[in-house]
Symmetry: C2
Subunit: 463 residues, 2 copies
């Protein structure tokens, strides 16, 4: 331990690391403390890519596990240092290095906070769409490493759609530059997208080149209140088939109505059991036309009430409620177990029906919000108390939810990643052959298995 | 050879293969006959994925080189069977298996021709944007394998932006299914995009799940005639920075004016040396507004003449000229050497200047058309005669063009791929460490090196 302190001080300077037990405690888990596992020996806070490379070369040389970490806002245990070793925190790599107007691209270091980046590009008339709920704290490096999504994916895709190139440190300390600043690129294997979503198990991402869009000049919000979940799910799938592409399309349950009715007027009708909250963007005229078309379509499909809210300030109230729901629900229950299963959009009605049936059969309280426009649902089991029997029942229910999603052609994770939480399900989705191939790719990058060990794979070891 | 015929007949039936020397001659090269190399022993034409898997397992077992092939319309020698062996032609895998309206996705076999697929989805009100010039013959499997682009990439990205999942056969004959039909997916490594652009060196693609968009209801064409290349290039980069996103933005040289003036009225001004041909899409109103905004911007930047052409029939004349230029130029010269270098869009003016200087210094006739909106330029050396001295001079000039592109932050290929043609430049772009990593990934898929040997890599062997 003494030796490591001296080595880290030499590589990183006195500000660049910590071995203080109180500091280290905070690095044992991500946003869900119950994934806490392992005792890191040190946290490294490199100030540039060269320092990060020195840490990786050092870890490699001494065979020390290394766990990369952004803001630690994940929900799958992806940055839990299960094997101890060094946690590498990217927070000092926080420079927005370039916003290139003539090429519509930006270069950012991995530790830049998403919301800060969005403010910076919007101030120049540009737009970076990915918007996970944790945007006020999560880092762009973490977004890339987990292929982060958010509500806007229905129209704009997820982080992967915006990554053009990466600077990354291989486990042996070599720095590579994948991709480019060009929109088109067809030379060699696409390592950029191989690293995107690899959850820190292949290399350390230190910088990203991101694609920007011109900022749409206006938005218009619409809301449809539905008699029940199934009706709402049907509206989503009919609307998509009809060519409607909102910039956000969220499905909310009856539990949210009370929250809405504290701030919006007139109140939402009490007999509704679900609602769709949508945003359209473009010129003011286009955005309103799309919102009105969608409202009319929902009316035809039997919505109890539809609203078009063109005024941005009034619309902001609706979206504020949306963003407060998760923290609010968290505060009302002892524990929440949230899932991230994603299904093809035409299967949302079937998925909703099966999830509701599972909850009823197992006597559990289940919320079912989600980014319905892209099929990414977040079924949430709400527990008033925490005990082993209830937790086991919840785990069993979630296993059934995941299997129901897979049976409908879905995937085990839409945007949260595998981490620790989903490792046992990976093979169920991908099959043994594909998982074996992924393990061989892992070895091509990280032959000694130091990078974020214990993640993604069903078993504890990487090889 | 007798043994192989019997084996292929058993696996594929009498229609499923050929060893006829006249048939095999056509399989020695892609669209550029001068890449012809190697003598294939057989062509395999599997009728489904299981037959394809049997061929790969057979090739693997007997250590026979296997070269996957779509339509053979490539321009980089990517499907040249340099080591002989078996060419696997996907043309019988030609079913459009699903167009899913409620999920906005399609499932297609690898041998489906792009234009046929586009017609099928457009008949249902959908849109599949990638549009390489060879679209009337090229296959979707080939498009995925080379990450094919085309003029629409400026707004819509390339093939990679539309691939959600793949069915692929590994060299040992195992079939894997990567990705999914979901818009969001964050479980495991992104093998879908790793296979996309891998030019048949990792696995055989047999099926793709593709993302569709709603078809924009209208388009509007605009044209700006510029005093010279540099002025045109500046307009592109200023327009992009100003937030204009055309659906196509092509840069054409003075040589095209005579062709335009045969069909369009009034004729283009003779003093122009370059023109920008652009299309905007959306509702009729939106498309026209964007075209007018762009025309006004070009006028402000000194265009000699601008035109907005909202009438689709009149606009079609302009685009017909665009599509005829390459075949026309081909017919006027003895040989063309076409490049595919791509630069960040803000560097197009610098690139144009350097390319023109290189042509002048080396006494060569150089055309410089390109998909300027996405930085993908196609400098073309036009040779009136073919002799060794001239060819060497042309090769040397192209080497300098590639180096000029790289020096500006560009890439060696935007959409044609590496194949044989660019193998010597790969390390120049990516660096030794990254190329070594790619080789290790190659071995993780294809340990014995049977898949499309002799491609992408600087040396002849894969490992």
């Amino acid at each position: 331990m003494k030796g490591m302190a001296k080595d880290l001080a030499r590589m990183l300077g006195p500000r660049g690391y910590s071995m203080d037990p109180e500091d280290l405690l905070a690095y044992r888990h991500d946003a869900l403390a119950y994934y806490a596992q392992g005792d890191p020996m040190a946290v490294a806070l490199p100030g540039d890519a060269a320092q990060a490379a020195a840490v990786l070369a050092y870890a490699s040389h001494h065979d020390i596990p290394l766990t990369p970490r952004g803001a630690g806002s994940g929900l799958s245990g992806g940055c839990t240092p299960v094997k101890g070793g060094i946690v590498l925190d990217t927070k000092r790599l926080n420079a927005i290095q370039e916003i290139n107007r003539g090429n519509l691209t930006a270069k950012v270091q991995a530790g830049v906070v998403l919301a800060a980046f969005q403010r910076a590009v919007e101030a120049q008339g540009f737009f970076y769409p990915p918007d996970p709920q944790s945007k006020s704290v999560c880092t762009l490096g973490g977004n890339v490493a987990t292929r982060a999504g958010g509500p806007r994916a229905v129209k704009y895709g997820t982080t992967g759609s915006y990554v053009l190139g990466l600077e990354a440190v291989l486990p042996d300390g070599e720095i590579i530059h994948t991709g480019s600043s060009c929109v088109k690129h067809s030379a060699g294997y696409d390592l950029t997208h191989l690293l995107t979503g690899s959850e820190g198990t292949l290399a350390l991402i230190t910088q990203a080149t991101l694609r920007l869009l011109p900022k749409p000049p206006a938005t218009c919000t619409a809301l449809a209140v539905c008699a029940n979940m199934e009706a709402a799910a049907r509206m989503v799938s009919e609307a998509i088939a009809g060519g409607v592409v909102p910039s956000m399309l969220e499905l909310l349950t009856t539990a949210s109505f009370a929250v809405f009715n504290r701030v919006v007027k007139p109140p939402l009708p009490e007999e509704g059991e679900a609602c769709l909250l949508m945003e359209f963007d473009g010129t003011a005229q286009e955005a309103q036309r799309q919102a009105q078309d969608m409202a009319a379509a929902c009316q035809d499909l039997g919505a109890l009430e539809v609203r078009v809210v063109p005024d941005p300030q009034e619309a902001a109230l609706y979206w504020k409620v949306r963003s407060q729901l998760y923290p609010l629900v968290v505060s009302r229950f002892k524990r929440l177990v949230t899932e991230d299963v994603t299904v093809p959009r035409d299967r949302i009605p079937d998925f909703v029906e099966r999830v509701m049936a599972i909850a009823q059969e197992m006597g559990l309280s289940m919320g079912l919000t989600g980014h319905a426009g892209d099929g990414n649902m977040h079924p949430t089991i709400r527990m008033d108390e925490v005990n082993d029997e209830l937790q086991q029942r919840a785990d069993q229910a979630m296993r059934r939810v995941i299997q129901a999603g897979l049976a409908l052609g879905g995937v085990i994770s839409g945007e949260h990643g595998v981490g620790l939480h989903k490792a046992e399900f990976l093979e169920l989705e991908l099959g043994r052959e594909q998982v074996e191939l992924m393990r061989r790719i892992k070895r091509a990058f990280d032959p000694t298995g130091i990078m974020n060990p214990g993640k993604i794979w069903p078993s504890e070891t990487a090889s």
